[in-house]
Amino acid sequence: MAIKGTEIVKRLPEGGKKNCKECGLPTCFAFAMKLAAGGIVIEKCPYISPEVSRELEDELAPPIRPVTIGTGAGALVVGDETVLYRHEKTFVHQPGIGVLIADDEPGEVVEGKIRKLRELHFSWVGKTLKADLLALQYKSGDPAKYGALVKKALTAVDCPLMLICEDTDALLNAHALCAGRKPVLYPVTAQNLEKVISAVKQNPAVVAVKGAGVESLAHLTNRLTEASIEDVLLDPGSKDLQSAVRDQTLIRRAALKQGFRALGYPTVAFPCFMAADKRREMLLAAMFIPKYAAFIVLSDIDEHTLLPLLVQRMNIYTDPRIPMAMEEKVYPINNPDAGSPVLITTNWALTYFIVASEVEASKVPAWLCVKESGGLGVLTAWAAGKFSGDNIAPFIRKCGVEGMVNHRRLVIPGKVARIRNELSEALPDWQIIVGPGDANEIPAYLPALVKSWKG
């Protein structure tokens, strides 16, 4: 739906033929193309009329608005997505995972959840995975109690906060406590909309509107646009998986394919309120990750349920145009020692995972050298000149494996048997052994290899 440079140029001064160069570019056409690509701001054109400028600004705005939740180091940006399917380009801002705390929960449960949010960090392929937000729910009926919980959270964490409160006065009191933290206010409906607008005018917050169905959201967001409030999240109020897939799909399509501004905001999802038990809740959350939610609230987190969800989020939000790569180094498998075999492969994460899991299955302790090869598999890396004798040799010298083992025998992938001679020349003190052509042969191959050395 994005407006094209060729459309913009016609609306520039003198129909795009002024070519004054004052913007720093040689022609109006060049300016228009750069504007369409987001490489320059409209104010650089000194002669554009305010009306056209406003129109273009509106049309050039991202179809799904980026929304920043929270402030400072813990702030989270969501939205600004441009595709329905990750293969069309990529999903850019992974959804925030939130943990729900209700103000009627016992103190130790509250403490426990805050501690888990702070401490549950996982390391995965060189990245740190963690949950990102705290959602505070008013349930006690006592605004003072809710206020106390909000105050506690404000000092305990620097991550963004979401205030979930059906009582407008209690919500706005809590909001006032969060000055400078830009929390999410939820639920905002036709009933409390005007009060929320005046509060947010004084004290910035993200407005999470709740409707009954997709269409009802547009009335609320149109009013917010009138009030110049653009930090908005949408909750269509989906009741189950089927309606959630429908609502999320319709919102994303309306924004991207119809250019329907009133739905051009990120969405928020509440598996914590939808599911009957923890497994169903996690499965709903896992549905919301590929299906467009920008903020997903869970009733609780623990080590073993959070990790799979965070890995899924990382997988789905990985840029499909860039292969996932492993860090170049020597990976020990099955507790190897100085006599264990040394194998080498490329650094495409899939290649590594497959080889590593087969070596593991062989139960033979081994050193797996993973060489930087642009995230390519063995054959493609070889074809691209990134996995050959003249670059493997220096890697073997510097990666440290020579200090880890007391032998000089290196197993190379069978698929690149042809590099054996060049590698032998480059590493004259090493014996180069051609291993299996397929990783699934490793569990049979490795024990036999080790046995042959001993015999």
Binding site: Q242, R246, L283, Q312
Partner: protein, 301 residues
Amino acid sequence: MQYKAPLETYTGRVKEVTIGSGRKAVRVGGQNILPLHYFEGAAANRCVVALEVDDNGAAGWAGHVAGPYKDVVHDPLKWAKRCMEMGADLVCLHLEGTDPQGANKPAAEAAALVKEVTGGLDVPLVVYGCGDDKKDIEVLTAVAEACKGENLLIGPAVKENYEAIARAVAENGHCIIAQTPIDINLEKELNVKLLKQLPPERIVIDPLSSALGYGMEYSFTIMERSRQVGVVYGDMAMQMPIIADLGRECWKTNQARADAEQGMLWESITAISLLLAGADILVLRHPDNCRLLKEAIEGKL
């Protein structure tokens, strides 16, 4: 600007494949909507869930996933019946024991076993060979002949052996699994070749399923693209139903083996991801996940 629901309808339709014969036949595919888009049209058949059985006594299965079957793992027929009782729409028998690098059981023995299992079951059977492309010709041909007319779903047929397996499948009235290594071009190429030997209503695509964290996103995107090409763009060579044989991949991971609850989620999250991408048959190991995914398929979760 007035809101008008952006509903879409498509001319392409997934081919309807029938697995099993007589009263135990199960149909998959047939829909002209994207996965779980029940708001845009009725699905002729909803996705189905199979539970996995092997001929190797569940060797290598972590205790927490083998648990529900632990008294029957050495009797594939009893094991398959257990799966059926636990709600599986289909049973998926992996002939691990025929692997030349493992127990190397002869083809005739495998064929006799498949015949026994399918004869004793009220749900259709999916049969996977061990994945050794030469041995699979021998084993799957024997299976196809021994179970003539049972309309099994048999595979994997890969580019090295598809001709022989497709011949055995065509001559004996079964369906075939066309397997390619996470590559949409190779997938289409194999489909085109198989279409010379079999009608599209007898082919199911297996683009390979990787586990969460181990390349799941590649399987996800290949399945999503396959379904788009078939349904949205109407490419006849890409309209076959998709099988996601994911249970074994998930339970192989350290993360699933290390902790029972984590393992459950490793399998169910991989499954729902691939379901949303376009899988029509999910092959799982844990019966609780079978029930859960059936709820998800109904949209009732």
